[in-house]
Symmetry: C2
Subunit: 149 residues, 2 copies
DNA sequence: TTTTCATGAAACAAATGATGTTACGAAAAA
DNA sequence: TTTTTCGTAACATCATTTGTTTCATGAAAA
């Protein structure tokens, strides 16, 4: 199955934007992500609808973060993207008449629901600020290792 | 995304087989699952490789469970199917050079790993016998409600 | 005002992966 | 020998994500 990588994409884009002063164009972000500006607009559009970023047209236009880094969680981003399906595994038939299949579905659904709840909880505990500081730590560590060598 | 429903399928098939005395043909299972006998053979073939079922050709041939219902866990079945990818969400680039993306990936991977661990743990706690008794309970409840009405 | 730069949006194309189908061979029993 | 049933390969279909092309719209610069 082809995995939905939009959450990964917007995180990369947002952290990139967080390091810039002015707005960042779709063109620039597309180069970073190795994709097409139209794909960037399409994906970032979801975040604009959610009020997380803003966009401006024309000269000096582009995308800006419209929120405090510490107030945006991965869960909010996941929701902004429309809460895409979490699992690549699922039931064959969602509304089966067969009692055997209902039994199987119930067992699987319960288990998947539990795992998804954990995932969403963790998502709600991670903010953009967390990732930014994590990045700063990695960046610093890289500089140190470079100085040593 | 199109979800992998093979685990759901084989569970349905196995519970069906558990209620039968003799072997069950791919044709019969395909009718139950609403699919094609070849798909059944293809999928059940994984379970045969794992030693969970056996198959016989010719007259009175078909599929048999080759294990105790209480000893087969959902996790074993998941493994027999080749441990298909759990999540429909993932990183854009698995081996990025960009430190920003590495940071994002690490955060997401850690979270997904945690959720997957929970899922596999639950899978390892559920056996075919559990599902069979769950089915019996549902079946009995259905009969009671029918008698009442 | 005209040109340039940028997003917005629709429509279409490509790539991927799961599932379904067809066809033929091999083995086992009737 | 005929029938049944699995084993396997090859191909077709379907759904979804991602990428691409195209044109319109708005905003700033020249
Ligand atoms: S931030 Fe631009 S390539 Fe990673
Ligand atoms: S067991 Fe055969 S249809 Fe559910």
């Amino acid at each position: 199955m082809k995995r939905d990588s939009r959450l990964s994409s917007v995180l990369h884009a947002l952290l990139h934007m967080a390091e810039q002063d002015g707005p960042v164009t779709s063109e620039t972000l597309a180069l970073c992500l190795g994709t097409n500006p139209v794909v960037v607009r399409r994906t970032m559009g979801y975040l604009r609808q959610a009020g997380i970023v803003t966009s401006e047209r024309g000269h000096a236009g582009g995308w800006r973060i419209h929120a405090d880094l510490g107030s945006v969680t991965l869960r909010q981003l996941h929701e902004a993207l429309g809460e895409p399906a979490t699992f690549a595994i699922g039931n064959r038939n969602e509304t089966p008449e067969c009692l055997v299949e209902q039994t199987v579905n119930a067992a699987l659904e319960g288990t998947f629901a539990e795992a998804e709840a954990l995932l969403l909880t963790r998502f709600s505990e991670i903010t953009l600020a967390d990732l930014a500081s994590d990045f700063a730590r990695r960046h610093s560590a890289l500089r140190h290792s470079r100085n040593k060598s």
